[in-house]
Every structure is written in C-alpha cells, then in structure tokens.
Assembly symmetry: C2
Homo-oligomer: 264 residues x 2
C-alpha cells in the first residue's frame, strides 16, 4: 500500500481522507501545492512553501504548522517510500488546527513531440476566483480542462471579461513578439513557480518580459505562443481553438523551452 | 455513533469520507442539496431532487443513481436513526460511478426575534460561478459569510459587477415596494426551493413578484428587504452594512414571512 502523511503521521494512502461533514470540506476551504522531487531533491521547495503561505493568508486560513514541518513530512514520505523522482502534493484544509496531507504520484512525463511541435489549446471564457492563490475552488478549471480534452487538446486558456488571455487551467501563458514576451499582469494569474524560471531564462536569452494583456483577437499576430508550469516547464502552442498558431520565432521558443527545462 | 448512507449502504458517520487523491475531490467537482424532515416527512423532496438533477447536468456529472435510490436511502437513514425532525444533506461527487453521501444534522432553529425584528446583513462584491447550480465550489460564499459573521451579521448579500444585489450566500434576496416584490432574474441566482414558496405566498397576499435587479445604491429606497431559504423560510433585514433598513411595510413582510413559514 502506497503511503501518505497526515499532520506528520505516516499513514496508508487509503487513510488520506476527509470527512464530508466538515465545513471546510463542504466549502472547499483549502489550498494546495504540487512540487517535484528530482534526483532525490525537492525542486524549488522554498518557492512552493512561500506560495502556499500566500494562498493560506489570501483566504484567511491561519497556519497551525511550520515550513519546517512540511520539509520534515516531505522527507519522511520520500524516505518511507524510497522515492527519487516523483511529484508530491501538499493539501492544507482550513480547519483549526489545519488538516495537512502530503500524497505522492508519479511525475508526468510529456512526449518530446509536445516540445518539438507544440500542443493544441482551446480558449475558455472565465476568470479564476482569487487567481493569485492555489485553492481547491477549481470547478471552472475542471470544466475548462474537460472541454479541452473533449476536443483532443492539452490545455484550456482562460479569456477574461475584457477579452484577454490570462492563464491556463494549470499553466501560465505567454506570447512572443520580436524580443518581447508578453504575459498577463500578476494580479490576474497564478504566480507560477516556473513563471519565475521563464523570466530568468528569458533574461539569459536577451528577451524582455512585458506584463501586459494579450488579447484573444490579437493572439495570431504574435510570433509564437507558449505555456509553462511545474510539470510542463515551457511548451509551445501549435493550435488555438483549432487554428494553427504562427511559429515565426520557432527556434527562440525552442531555445527558451530547453533553458527552462534545465532551470532548477 | 451517528449514521450516514454511502451509495445505499448504512455506515457510521466517521466513515463518510472522501479520498484526497481523487480528481473530483481535488477539483471540488460535486453537487449537494440540503432538505428538511418535518414531522417525519421530507419537505419538498421532489423539488430538491429536481434541482439536484439540474446541478449535476449543469456541470456535466453523469448520474449513476435514480431519484428512487435517493428516496430509499433517505428513508433508510431516517428509520435507522429514528428521526422525526432533522436536516439531511445529499452530496454527489462526480466520480463514475458517483459517490453519494447522505448525512444528517439537527435542524437549525432561528430565534423568533429574527422574524420579528429582522437580521443584519452585509454586502459582498462577487458573483457565484454558475449560480443556478448548487456545487461545492463555495469559497466565495465561505469568505463572504465569514466576513458577515466577523461583523456580527447573519448573512452576506452578493453585489455583482453591475452593482445589483443578486442573492445571499445561502439565501435569496427580495425588496418590497408597494405591492411589488423585486428579486434578481433567474439566471443570476440559485433557484431556491423556498423562492417558489415566497412566490406562491406573495400571490396569496396579492403581491406581484418582479424579476428585476435591485441595485445596492437604491436598496434603502424600498419599503423593506428580506431573504429566504429552506432553513430560514423568510426573514426580514433590519440592517444592511450597518445602516438601518426601512420597514415601511413591516406588517406586510411579517404576514408574508408567516405564510412562507407554513408553506410546505
């Protein structure tokens, strides 16, 4: 039986459960993080812990554990399971004291064609509630992603009431034009850990990040489009709503994607 | 130990739990209903089953049980616990097959002063996602209600981007003026079962329901304001954002509230 951790106690994964009678469960009053273990090291753990903190504060969950607790619990699970490369999920439920679960699953590996040729995306009208925070209020993301998968696409990109593309259901979104990479302002999106990586790698390549809206109506006027996330790193978009996306600066995105892939 | 039902099986309530590793749990992909047992009879069960159906369809959950199943399971729990007056909660989680829980709790009885004098409410900027459906995507409602309670208020009323009051976190909202009761259009709100009752009772009193927005800026120009829900029936509002609400037609709302209280 696979293991998990509940508030510092190693348990069988089938014991990682939540009572449906709890108010915080009924209201989906919880936050989460997903992070990678790579070659035995937790990748960007500091950043994930910082963002978890921000999410909790953002929805008023008073933290009843420390960052050091999480580090200890992650190590506990890693050691108990003898893991080396894996994805971990931290879930904090807003009871007092908090209910904290750490679970793990295989790291998803995407086919190399995703990076070489790009992936298909759809657009989906909607705005995530409190986009800066990673909460369990995910129905919009669920529906958008289902809709993408029904159309054989990899990701759904949200278009907000003003007509601009903010982010994907589990990724940040970018549009490259010349030496500039446009991406939605911080206030509109999840501040992805890999978004920091994109920014650092862009810098290395002499590209400038511009935090300005990319309107859907103009999406096909850019040189190329791509998305990023912890699990994906940076993946080009080849089709948007069934229409081929230009790849005028294909090699530049490929170079950036390779750099981001190595960013740790 | 209190009992519950999971997909037709009577269980101890502490076994009414959901694995945190399920996608539908992580995305809060579920719907619910709350209904009353009164003097041994389930009140407006048909309407609650109909709405549950609409919620499930609304977010694409394919139903793997029948209405007859729910009726049987409710009776099973009622009989096992020897219940006569109680509130039941039905939760349907969007796995295939669905995970269905029925749990129960004491029916909340509000003090008579709530009906005589009214309750305090706050307003809260926000729009429920897919307001017609009763889903577990409830973070906005949680935050709004917390904010109300911090201010010693009973309910938070949502104000949408257009500046009009749509509904409360767990109630419908109405404004009375002369012989007309204004309430937000169907598309903007949960189609409360007791909202049907308000409409029928208004009819009996010769009042007309008008499905038109009540703008926050005009809220104090009405004769009186009130809210309704399955648990509350109809309760007048005495204060909104700390400011006294007029009760020009106080007796009319009292009469209506008494009728709705008896509506079954």
């Amino acid at each position: 039986m696979r293991k998990a951790v509940r508030n510092g106690i190693l348990i069988d994964e089938d014991q990682a459960v939540l009572p449906v009678t709890l108010r915080s469960v009924q209201y989906a009053y919880s936050c989460y993080e997903a992070l990678k273990l790579k070659n035995g090291e937790f990748v960007h753990l500091d950043e994930h812990l910082r963002r978890l903190d921000e999410s909790l504060k953002g929805i008023g969950i008073v933290k009843t554990f420390t960052d050091e607790d999480i580090r200890t619990w992650l190590e506990m699970l890693k050691t108990a399971e003898g893991l080396f490369n894996e994805t971990f999920r931290i879930l904090v439920v807003g009871e007092r004291p908090n209910i904290v679960f750490i679970t793990h699953q295989e790291t998803r590996i995407y086919p190399s064609s995703y990076y070489d040729e790009g992936v298909g995306c759809i657009t989906y009208q909607g705005e995530r509630f409190l986009p800066n925070y990673k909460t369990s209020n995910l129905l919009l993301s669920y529906l958008a992603l289902e809709s993408a998968e029904e159309k054989g696409c990899f990701e759904a990109l949200f278009v907000n009431r003003y007509g601009y593309i903010t982010e994907g259901t589990r990724s940040n979104f970018y549009a490259l034009k010349g030496k500039k990479i446009y991406t939605a302002p911080d206030k509109d999106v999840l501040l992805g850990v890999t978004r920091i990586g994109v920014s650092e790698c862009a810098d290395e390549l002499g590209l400038e990040i511009v935090y300005e809206p990319v309107y859907l109506k103009d999406a096909f006027l850019y040189d190329s489009l791509f998305i990023s996330s912890t699990s994906m790193k940076a993946i080009p978009i080849k089709e948007l709503d069934g229409k081929a996306v230009p790849r005028k600066s294909g090699d530049l995105v490929k170079e950036l994607s390779e750099l981001v892939g190595k960013w740790e």
